[in-house]
């Protein structure tokens, strides 16, 4: 949303200029908010109105403002943002502005530019040549980059709560605790995923190993086969558990289907070794070494797989990124076009990924630990649903609901 504040002065009531300006804003697709109005008391007294005009696009706003200027509208001069050069690589100048995850605009050289991506805990770098403003992390910044300092010239647009009850992400009580019924909410989430698929939304799943351990991997695979998931974020452990389950029927040596499994703990290492031997997960699928599970379904259905390493990982599996800074860059890039994120039973990755989510991304967090759910959704109270539950029943109900409408993307 782009906006400017205009002022009208004069005999704007008797001349019908105020209604004309408001009509012009609406007929040209804009919106207005009258922030101040003073009506002259005596006949010769002049009146005054201050109006915030907003439009969907910057060009639309420029065009509209040009029209309104002809009607005598004066555009209030807004202060430009102040910038200072980064003193060294990886160092921001003192007083640098720190972003929130709300949509943010910076006024620079008289123009308002949207800061992209809309991620939290970053500084803002402006590029004079491109006329762009980027949210940058420490690793992005190079000596001499122009970084916004102070709060002048910054406009933050919080997500507005909708007045219609069509969006479950805005009217369901954020967190549904363990003792509350969940099937109706899961049906709403299923409906949202159907809509997202129809509207070309990008849905990402952040998967924790508990999915496999509780035997819910098959349900997640069904969602992938149904074309509901575009991107899979996981740690090495999730992938290793899933592969172990596919190859040996166990995860960390336990079989969700039988009480006592053969092979025990060593199965995971053997599974990892098999994939390493094959050269990677995709190769293992191609060579029919890996024939089931979430990773298999992801490869088969062209889901973009993003695997992130951590200390203590076994292996790791080929394709797991282990450099922390590299991981951050990948997360930022892979999350820019995501519209929906489902965080499943992994506090560690839920928090890491939450830091790269814009405020308009709809988030579902499922975890058996109430504090994990709370921490994951607290940053996006208007755009998130948290469910305190074992992940298996959640995925089962969701996949059952959606499996009636399978498509291939």
């Amino acid at each position: 949303m782009f906006s400017e504040t205009i002022e009208l002065r004069g005999h704007i009531i008797d001349s019908l200029i105020l209604p004309k300006v408001l009509d012009q804003i609406l007929t040209h697709g804009g919106n207005f908010k009258i922030t101040e109005v003073q009506i002259g008391r005596k006949r010769a007294d002049q009146s005054f109105a201050r109006i915030e005009v907003s439009t969907e696009t910057g060009e639309g706003l420029d065009e509209l403002i040009l029209r309104l200027r002809q009607q005598g509208a004066e555009v209030m001069e807004r202060a430009n943002a102040q910038v200072a050069p980064a003193p060294a690589n990886g160092v921001f100048p003192p007083e640098f502005y720190v972003t929130t995850n709300q949509q943010t605009f910076v006024r620079f050289e008289g123009k308002e530019i949207e800061v992209t991506p809309g991620i939290i805990n970053s500084a803002i770098a402006v590029d004079r040549k491109k006329g762009s403003a980027r949210a940058v992390k420490f690793f992005d910044v190079k000596k001499g980059n122009e970084i916004v300092v102070g709060h002048q010239g910054i406009r933050v647009v919080p997500v507005q709560r909708t007045t219609t009850h069509t969006d479950p992400f805005q009217f369901i009580n954020n967190i549904v605790d363990a003792e509350e019924p969940k099937s109706a909410i899961i049906r709403e989430i299923a409906e949202e995923l159907r809509r997202a698929r129809g509207a070309a939304g990008k849905v990402a799943v952040v998967a924790g190993p508990a999915i496999v351990r509780t035997g819910a991997g098959g349900h997640l695979a069904r969602l992938i086969e149904g074309g509901y998931i575009d991107r899979l974020f996981a740690g090495n452990a999730f992938a290793a558990h899933d592969v172990e389950r596919a190859l040996f029927g166990t995860s960390l040596g336990l079989n969700p289907d039988v009480a006592i499994a053969r092979g025990g703990h060593e199965n995971q290492l053997r599974a990892i070794n098999t994939i390493r031997e094959a050269g990677g997960i995709a190769t293992a699928v191609r060579e029919k070494v890996l024939t089931s599970g979430v990773m298999h379904a992801s490869v088969k259905h062209d889901v973009d797989i993003v695997l992130i390493g951590a200390v203590g990982d076994e292996g790791p599996l080929p394709g797991v990124t282990t450099d922390v800074i590299e991981c951050e860059k990948i997360l930022r890039d892979k999350l820019t076009d995501v519209t929906h994120v489902i965080l499943l039973a992994t506090l560690r990755y839920s928090l890491a990924i939450g830091a790269f989510l814009a405020n308009n991304v709809k988030t579902v967090c499922v975890d058996i630990d109430p504090s994990a759910v709370e921490r994951a959704v607290e940053r996006q109270p208007l755009q998130s649903i948290g469910l305190v539950t074992d992940v298996e029943p959640f995925l089962r109900v969701l996949a059952d609901d959606l499996s009636g409408s399978k498509v291939t993307k």
């Binding site: 004069g10 005999h11 006949r43 009607q71 005598g72």
Partner: protein
């Protein structure tokens, strides 16, 4: 007796094109120009005291004195012309008015305003036209200088680029106008403040029929508007229809050739 300012058409001619009427290819006939202007001068002299400002070479449109500025009481507000072709007229008019005892009050140079051409009193309201020549912002400044209610109306037909080409208030509180020259808001604003408006037919409006000089019950207007004349006569006005063809070629007629000194004794 009202005082009027006219300018002899010695240097008048179509030398540039700054409105849809002007065509350098179709110039004015000098002999007819002189004859038509003298007839206007003679007619107005019957009811008013006519003053003349000396015409200046290379300022052909100086003959249209209505655009010199706006006079209220002894205060004269000079125009800021939109087109550079006419900007040279301003110092001559300002100096003349000053020499004749008027107090000259200047608008900010950043505001375009074309005088009585875009500012006409009707009842206790000053109607001001904007867009083609005057800026709406200038109206606010005029309202502050004069302390009166200014109704700003947007002009939408480039052929009727000044308010006095499409609207003429009458001393009885009524007026005549060509409504299509205004947008719907301007039409509503005028209707709210002027009673008994006579709509001028398009074929008569294009003869510049609204560009009339009204002095009490006498109206001096261009020939070519028999329907309007008969309606005005019904209301008890005496109409003096004059040939104005050579001035219409430049987008002006009786009223454009005349400035009241003052248009009103006091504003509001």
């Amino acid at each position: 007796m009202r005082d009027l300012l006219l300018c002899p058409p010695d240097y008048y001619g179509i030398e540039y094109e700054i409105n849809p009427w002007m065509s350098v290819a179709h110039g004015a006939e000098t002999a007819i120009v002189q004859e038509q202007w003298k007839q206007l001068h003679a007619t107005l002299s019957k009811f008013c005291k006519v003053h003349l400002i000396a015409p200046q070479p290379r300022l052909p449109d100086m003959v249209f004195t209505a655009n010199a500025g706006l006079t209220v009481g002894r205060k004269f507000i000079p125009s800021n012309f939109r087109h550079k072709e006419r900007a040279g007229e301003q110092p001559f008019f300002a100096k003349w008015m000053e020499q004749h005892g008027y107090e000259v009050e200047w608008l900010s140079e950043t505001l375009f305003f074309e005088g009585e051409g875009d500012a006409l009193f009707g009842n206790d309201v000053l109607f001001c036209g904007y867009k083609f020549r005057s800026d709406v912002q200038s109206h606010r400044a005029i309202a502050e200088m004069l302390g009166c209610l200014v109704i700003s109306v947007e002009l939408v037909d480039p052929r009727f680029y000044h308010l006095d080409t499409c609207f003429c208030p009458l001393p009885d509180g009524g007026g005549f106008w060509f409504p299509n020259a205004f947008d719907e808001y301007g039409q509503r604003a005028i209707r709210e403040h002027v009673t008994d408006l006579i709509d001028v037919a398009p074929e008569e409006a294009q003869h510049f029929s609204c560009n009339a000089v009204v002095i009490d019950r006498d109206i001096v207007l261009p020939a070519g508007a028999p329907q309007l004349v008969s309606k005005l006569q019904e209301r008890g006005y005496r109409c003096h229809a004059l040939p104005m063809t050579e001035f219409i070629k430049a987008g002006g007629a009786c009223k454009c050739l005349t400035m009241f000194m003052p248009q009103r004794e006091a504003a509001g």
